[in-house]
């Protein structure tokens, strides 16, 4: 097969690649949203004054969650979740819910630590000022401290989002090995088509790599845009 023929083959498959890229992005987007929500909740629990037993128990749960999720490989977590779904529902889910939940749970642990560090970096005087005006701890957190914490952590959060986008390629293992019915993610599609046409294998992989790179570069541009916008807000 000449290089031109390989490119022609790639062009024939453009619809499938576009679709799989869409699935990859959808998984990443869902996981980012879920992870961010989990992260904020865990961070607030971790940072809350340990005044009553309920908070202490919640804090224990949060610490355990973060330790376990950060301490085990993403692929293992994904396989465990798929197997659990298989055992409980007697069938493999073919939609994207399972990977979104798996990556969301995973990312939540990292987000929690990122946001917690952001909250700690906000001057304690901000909380004191809010409390001195009669606002409750949680209201001051929500209106004053967390917005400032998120702002300082934008670069780190985007770092996590970028890692997450690339990590969705782990789903290809599920698609190839466990669940042929699974919607194919970008890397999975490249491998599937590459196995069908071995001569094109490397071309497809390079094409997949190129698409990941393009998405990450777009995200980086978005990050800089957001950072500039936030800075302008304060001048």
């Amino acid at each position: 097969m000449t290089f031109a023929e390989k490119l022609a083959k790639l062009w024939d498959l453009r619809g499938l690649f576009a679709e799989s890229l869409g699935y990859s992005l959808l998984i990443a987007f869902g996981a980012v949203v879920l992870g961010f929500i989990i992260g904020v909740i865990l961070a607030v629990i971790r940072i809350a004054p340990k005044k009553n037993p309920v908070i202490k128990i919640l804090d224990g749960i949060a610490v355990t969650y973060i330790t376990v999720i950060r301490g085990t490989p993403t692929l293992v977590q994904l396989l465990i979740l798929y197997s659990s779904v298989l055992v409980i529902f007697k069938s493999m889910s073919t939609n994207l819910i399972v990977p979104i939940i798996a990556f969301g749970i995973n990312s939540g642990a990292y987000m929690a630590e990122i946001i917690r560090s952001g909250i700690s970096s906000v001057d304690a005087g901000q909380m004191e000022a809010g409390r001195s005006l009669g606002l409750s701890w949680i209201t001051t957190m929500r209106r004053i401290v967390i917005p400032q914490a998120i702002k300082t952590t934008v670069p780190t959060i985007f770092n996590e989002i970028i890692i997450l986008v690339k990590e969705t390629s782990v789903v290809s293992v599920i698609a190839l090995r466990v669940n042929w019915e699974q919607k194919w993610d970008l890397l999975g599609m490249a491998e599937k088509q590459g196995l069908a046409t071995p001569a094109c294998y490397i071309v497809f992989l390079f094409f997949a790599a190129f698409l990941y790179l393009a998405v990450v570069m777009l995200l980086t541009a978005l990050q800089h845009l957001i950072e500039r916008r936030l800075k302008k807000n304060e001048r």
């Binding site: 001057d123 005087g125 901000q126 004191e128 000022a129 809010g130 409390r131 001195s132 005006l133 009669g134 606002l135 409750s136 209201t139 209106r143 004053i144 917005p147 400032q148 702002k151 807000n233 304060e234 001048r235």
Partner: protein, 303 residues
């Protein structure tokens, strides 16, 4: 309780083993202006921060008129003489650390409660229920100005001022905005309403922090070294605003090193040393005729 707007009774505060307040009591009447002086580490800021519970006293009570902001301290209501006798007895016999003795007395008091039975604890609970005020409600009535201004960095000046009254449903957004603009007009900073704090000078920040507190219509204002973090040329504008506030009849408790301000504005000066109020009186009593050696030394070093 006895006609005072704000009263602290027998306040003790420990940070771990460090004893910062060693039994501080004082009352401030409506409209009174009190200036608190003392060397750093004397406990004056801690006392002020205990008044709105930013710092929780280890023992003792804080009252806002008829409202109790802290748990009931049984020793301040009965057996106070007995308690002090016990304290002295244990102190004389063992020479133990004050904190240790107080913990021991507390334990004895629990026994006392057992002995007196359910009636005793019922009365205590009833007393507490009758007077207790939620800390957030209490703080809404007590304004506080900080050394480092602590304006909310993520909000504009106007949002800084309207957030709390609107959030706590004390005012509608329109009312709060109108009042905030009026106050900004009074300090000549109307054009800064939509600016963010990072664009303001220290003096502007502190004046806005003061009017932000005023937006809550507080009954009393606490100032924690309001001019200590300012460049010298900006101290005047902040002190002027505080004087205007004093002239308007605001009850004020001011921790400061500004002796001139104390002389001019204060009805009462408290001098703190080593966690107690070492001296209190009118400015001329304290400044011109200090009784204690510590006050004399402190005043000769700052005057």
């Amino acid at each position: 309780m006895n006609g005072d707007l704000i009263e602290i009774r027998g306040l003790y505060k420990y940070f771990g083993k460090l004893q910062v307040l060693k039994g501080v009591s004082c009352g401030i009447k409506k409209g009174e202006k009190v200036v608190v002086l003392g060397a750093s580490g004397s406990g004056k800021s801690t006392m002020l921060r205990c008044m709105n519970l930013l710092e929780r006293p280890t023992y003792g009570e804080v009252w806002l008129q008829d409202n109790l902001l802290t748990p009931v301290d049984p020793y301040l209501h009965e057996d106070i003489i007995k308690a002090s006798r016990t304290f002295k007895k244990i102190k004389a016999a063992s020479g133990k650390d004050d904190a240790e003795i107080i913990t021991k007395i507390k334990k004895e008091d629990l026994l006392h409660e057992k002995r007196e039975g359910a009636e005793y604890s019922r009365l205590m609970k009833e007393f507490y229920k009758a007077h207790y005020l939620d800390e957030n409600l209490a703080r809404a009535k007590i304004g506080m100005v900080f050394q480092h201004f602590n304006l909310f960095n993520n909000l504009t000046v106007l949002q800084n001022m309207t957030l709390a009254p609107v959030q706590l449903k004390l005012k509608t957004k329109e009312e709060a905005t109108a009042q905030a603009m009026e106050l900004l007009g009074k300090i000549g900073l109307t054009d800064k309403a939509d600016s963010y704090p990072s664009t303001l000078s220290g003096g502007q920040k502190q004046r806005i922090a003061i009017v932000r507190s005023l937006c809550m219509d507080p009954q009393v204002m606490l100032f924690d070294e309001p001019t200590s973090a300012l460049d010298p040329e900006m101290v005047g504008e902040v002190l002027d605003l505080m004087k205007r506030l004093a002239d308007d009849g605001m009850t004020m408790i001011v921790v400061t090193h500004e002796i001139g301000f104390a002389r001019e504005v204060a009805d009462k000066v408290l001098f703190m040393a080593d966690g107690v109020i070492a001296e209190s009186g009118t400015p001329s009593e304290v400044f011109d005729n200090p009784q204690t050696l510590r006050a004399q030394q402190f005043l000769s070093s700052v005057l």
